[in-house]
Structure formats: C-alpha cells, structure tokens
C-alpha cells in the first residue's frame, strides 16, 4: 500500500518552497504534492527529472492543470511532442488536453517538502492534462479531485493536526 503523502502538514501561514533554481510561494492552507512527468510510453519515472511542487486541490474538477512554462521549464517536456487527446473549456477559454504520465513522489513522514526514499507512484491521467497557454495561470500546477477518483486513492485530511495523508487503497485479495 504505497503512501504518497504521509501525515504531510499544511501550513497555517504562507510559506515558500525551493526547487531547481526557483522559490515559489505557498499560500496558507494549501496541500503540496511533488510530481514529475514523462511521456505516455515511459513506464518508469525519469531518474533525472526534478520533482516540482503541485497544489492538491479537490475544488479542481479536472485531473491536472499547468501552464506552458511549467511544462517546459519544470517538467522538461515540450507541448508539441505530447499527443493531443481533446480539449476542455474553462471560463470561456478552450484548453488543450495533452497526454503524459504523472509520477507522484512520496514525502517523508510528517514532512511537506522532504522527499522519502521510496519509489514514485504512477498516477493515470487517461483523458490528458490541461496545458494553459503562456505563463500566468494557474499560478502553480494543480492536481484535481479526478486524479484521486480515477486512481482510486484515499485522501485523509486531519484538520486538527493540519496533516494530510494520500495513499493507494488497501487490497485484500490478489488482482489480475
């Protein structure tokens, strides 16, 4: 039963995270998950890819959204090499859906930013990810509720402790 977020804290106050050469602001009460991306046919995470921070937002009704600069500079993928799977509409804007594999990198128990020494977990995004043009919106990449549902993950938020746990489901019998 892989655990992706293991009692990861979400802060009461704004904070920052550093990765690559960037520092990004995290608002109060935002849940962070660390991802890398790969081409669809690459079925293991790229060992040289640097995980980048993503907001886990159950109010986002798609799988995963980011803008072109995130895709190119953070994920290291050019949009034109990713197969177009369709489009969605958001606030009157038409956003193309592109095909990638998502890899969620587990964090250490009780930590938001320290990655654990455990393998990354693949998250299926079968309808594609929404790639917004430009470099403005969304401010940070967003992982939505659909990815939790489609990957049958279990999300537990402990408000009193300000901690979140995200894990795969328990399996009680062998699956085909």
């Amino acid at each position: 039963m892989p655990i992706i977020l293991d009692r990861s804290p979400f802060a009461e106050h704004p904070s920052e995270v550093a990765f690559l050469t960037e520092r990004v602001s995290i608002r109060a009460d935002q849940i962070i998950i660390w991802l890398t991306l790969s081409l669809k046919r690459v079925t293991s995470p790229n060992p040289s890819a640097v995980p980048f921070p993503v907001i886990l937002d159950t109010g986002h009704s798609h799988t995963f959204s980011l803008h072109e600069r995130h895709l190119i500079e953070w994920a290291g993928l050019r949009p034109e090499v990713l197969t177009i799977l369709g489009a969605v509409r958001e606030r009157g804007q038409r956003i193309l859906l592109r095909e990638v594999n998502l890899w969620a990198h587990p964090t250490a128990k009780g930590s938001r930013d320290q990655l654990a020494d455990r393998p990354a977990h693949q998250l299926a995004a079968p309808r594609g990810i929404a790639v917004y043009p430009g470099a403005e919106f969304p401010r940070l990449p967003i992982l939505g509720l659909r990815v939790i549902a489609e990957n049958e993950l279990v999300l537990t938020v402990n408000g009193k402790r300000r901690e979140v746990t995200l894990r795969t489901p328990m399996r009680w019998w062998p699956f085909s």
Binding site: T43, G59, S61, V88, R89, E90, Q122, P138, S176
Partner: protein, 102 residues
C-alpha cells in the same frame, strides 16, 4: 431528451477533431462500440480498458501494464487509449471544468 448512449456520444467540434490524431479518434470509437457490453460485464466495469484502432487490446486493473503491452506490440502513443470502463468512456465531449483559484 438528449440521447447520451455510448453510440451517440457527443462529438468534439471540428477544430478539436482536426487536432486529435486519427488513431486516438478511431481507438475511442472502438471503445464506444464495445461499451454497452463492457458496462454489462461486472468483471470489466470500473477496470481499465485499453483500445487501439483495431479494437480491444486488454481489460485490466494495472494501467502501467496496459501501456507496456501496447509498447511491446509496437503501437504508437497516438494510436491507443486507456480509459476506465464507465458510462463516459470513449467520449469526445469538450467538458467544462473549474480550475479553482490557485
């Protein structure tokens, strides 16, 4: 009443259709054709269905294994789809989403 049976799934508009590779459109069409039978089969419902232009590749619980199967068969990325067996599988609809306020 709008007919939303799999055979009459809303289609993508002309602009989008031209952006989506023929192989993806044909794989989804094959999935839609089989969808009533898949939904009626409790062993298939809710699992991953992998389809290419030529039809069904496999039904399974392991998404990564299905991708590997397609790679092993030499099927290009733009010629197969993997979707959950639900009533929306294979749809070409351009959905309205909310991106929240990050």
């Amino acid at each position: 009443m709008t007919d939303l049976t799999p055979e009459h799934s809303p289609t993508v508009d002309g602009a989008a259709a031209s952006e989506i590779r023929e192989g993806i459109l044909r794989a989804r069409a094959a999935l839609r054709r089989d969808l009533p039978a898949l939904l009626a089969d409790r062993r298939a419902r809710g699992k991953w269905a992998c389809y290419s232009c030529d039809g069904r590749i496999a039904i399974g619980t392991d998404y990564t294994a299905l991708i590997r199967e397609c790679v092993n068969r030499g099927i290009p990325d733009a010629e197969f789809v993997i979707e959950r067996v639900t009533s929306r599988a294979g749809s070409e609809e351009e959905e309205e989403i909310d991106s929240s306020f990050v």
